[in-house]
Symmetry: C2
Subunit: 480 residues, 2 copies
Amino acid sequence: MLDTLITGGHLLTMAGPGVGFVEDGAVGIRGRTIVAVGPRREVEAHGPATTTLDGRDRLVMPGLIDAHLHSAAVLGRGWAQEVERWMDSAYGPMLRNVDPADAPLATLWALMEGVANGTTTFADYTRPMGELVRSHALMGSRSVVCDSISERNFANRERWIAQGWKPGDPTPLDAEAGKESLARSLRLHEEWDGHDEGRIRVIFGPHAADFLSREMLLRVQAEARQRGCRLHLHVAQDPRENNATQQRFGLRAIPYLESIGLLAPDLIAVHLSTATEAEVETVVKAGAGMVCCANSIGIIDGVMPPAALFKRLGGRVALGSDQAPGNNSHNIFSEMRATAMHPKIRAEHPLAIPSWQVLRSATIEGAEVLGVADRVGSLEVGKEADLILLDLTRPPLAPVLLRPARNLVANLVYAETGRNVELSMVAGKIIYRDGRFSNVDAEEIHGKVRAAAERLQRATAADDRTRDLPIVDLTRRGLA
Amino acid sequence: MLDTLITGGHLLTMAGPGVGFVEDGAVGIRGRTIVAVGPRREVEAHGPATTTLDGRDRLVMPGLIDAHLHSAAVLGRGWAQEVERWMDSAYGPMLRNVDPADAPLATLWALMEGVANGTTTFADYTRPMGELVRSHALMGSRSVVCDSISERNFANRERWIAQGWKPGDPTPLDAEAGKESLARSLRLHEEWDGHDEGRIRVIFGPHAADFLSREMLLRVQAEARQRGCRLHLHVAQDPRENNATQQRFGLRAIPYLESIGLLAPDLIAVHLSTATEAEVETVVKAGAGMVCCANSIGIIDGVMPPAALFKRLGGRVALGSDQAPGNNSHNIFSEMRATAMHPKIRAEHPLAIPSWQVLRSATIEGAEVLGVADRVGSLEVGKEADLILLDLTRPPLAPVLLRPARNLVANLVYAETGRNVELSMVAGKIIYRDGRFSNVDAEEIHGKVRAAAERLQRATAADDRTRDLPIVDLTRRGLA
């Protein structure tokens, strides 16, 4: 007896070394778990089922994995772009007026966007995570959250400036602030890790090599290892980071991290935007995973992170939507397209990275990088039922061609936008179907988001420090 | 008295040098024509209206312009990629078994995809156009169609090969075939140009500088000018073209075209993939327009056409979805994103091309390049009412921020996928609303597309010449 049987669809199981295509397949689910998957007749033999979902003309595949996002920034969507030095000339000043009380709402809005576009697992990196994890719990999606651990005390920024600090200089460190942020992460882990039979995982998020002292970085690593948790770290994100570690330790960020033993299989290394080829090789050899945020880094820096090289060297790459002020969406289909296209443009070669490799990044490799591949990332017996159904009767997925060449994977990666996602399931429960969320009312949430955006606009418009920003000027000139 | 009043929405009129934003605006329509546009109260003074559309929480903007597509190829969606030399190693052999009888259906399917994603004008370049124009007429969208005029007689390819011709060599020319194709274009023009008060325009499509003799190219230009029509020409698309004109005339394609007077304001120059900086400047100075197909050329060649440079030099750039076997969609939102992103990645600079310039390419510049800007491309009094409404209450367009910086244009270009297109109007008539087409039944058409795709698959699978193609091998290896 099955709880749910999804039958008659084409499957991309993502099991094995390729994409695991099954024509006319089925998935049988008991409780949270996949108990049968494969050709329809074999799976139907496990029946009957309490609920049967008709999978004909549908694609069934693992839910997508967003391996790096800053959910609460979604209120400032589109406010950090068309600039150089995006953090100092846009993101920082435009977003500083977000009311922390609106952050849980913003997180929910970001998750709703992701779920409506096929994402089932979110590695949310937001400071302070505190209440936001409740939004993850409410949504019903799977999460691997962390707070930011940092000795950078941004409250002192005006004082640094008075003392001669300029953007790009190494950030002064504040040991007390670091201890507080670690304590916050430990409490978060204590309270939330393992929630709902492990649907919520809490890991540790030291911010960047230059925002923590060597000792603190190693202490965070030790605390994480004691708890069997991964480290989620921005690595080689920008020249500032390399400059700082060079000044402090005589090494660029990646060699420095290697020298202290941070590069290891339990490291989730985000961005690698400034990594040299040799540095990429160092990270791969250490067994760390990479998260590539192709759209965000492309928009804010004009850079394509080295995802293609990382894969070529045998490393595992996950995809992340990063932050909406500069991206401007939390949509892993958009990330797949960018991750497939930008390396081609960079290398001026159509074979720079094939679509099937990118689809693996959005699913099984994403799960491996986050350390949750024992539970999700592919449709396999014993894994939890995190999956999505896509309508195959509409463009850009129709017509479906199977012989002599299949077009499903290419159309998913190069063209699908998330619009054809019809149903989304996490741990055996449907959390989204036909445009409706199971656990939240989209219209009600939008009303609250609109009100929060009004507050943000009033505060930001009244903030003199935004008056001469390039993005404000663009609006004044009628170009936005 | 108005026929239709759309009121209470935000407008991007695209009139003037920027994006023409109007907060709380309205559009008044009489017959096919916009008779009032601007702030709500001013426009409402022209009322009442027979039909009022509530524009609150909606964005109203000109319908998008797809300035170059090969509509009938959509049946082979996704079948020409992950390869080098895409035309010879994928598109040609995979698509040769399309039944010409299925082409009008395929065209309709491509138009439906475009319309559902906000496109209202299609510059369809398909050979033979013949019956396909009826699909355009049926759909209700605006069209600037052409047939291909060419002295390349592909039916003789096997004979060329026997005589030592290889892919990449100059194509032997066949004057008879050229005359026939010109005669076909003249008949098409005679029969269809001006249909439905000019909703359908027929122009002339000489295929490429190396597929016609000098004399024939000039004859086509003369015929087009006599009728006040533009020329729609692939220009500097690949090395083959430059090699051929070099061998025949001692010049690369663009200098050759310049030398015979083809580069002029009535030229629609598609691709320019291999153009040098100096050649781009030549085309801009001549006043010709460019069509950039960022996704297609990126996927098949790994190249970003020189759209950013063309604009920087003062030229006008339109966007095109090209062909679904290699793109894989007919969606101008996807083209906007790629056109905004790929130059950043190529230049490694976030300011390579700003979003507002790309939005102009998808609207008013697209209309200018096609020669239809007197009628469409912006919301202005006296132009025809070709417009779309987008839902602003959902990601990635929500939250809408207006002060101190607006985020609408950035979110449209960097993130919108077409999913939020709610209504589409051409010449004052609604052709798409809430997922339904006014003039065709999507489910019925999909049934026919599925049957046509079955026929294509059977024929292609039975064709020995496809057996060892890379894309077939990818499927065999479980990577598709």
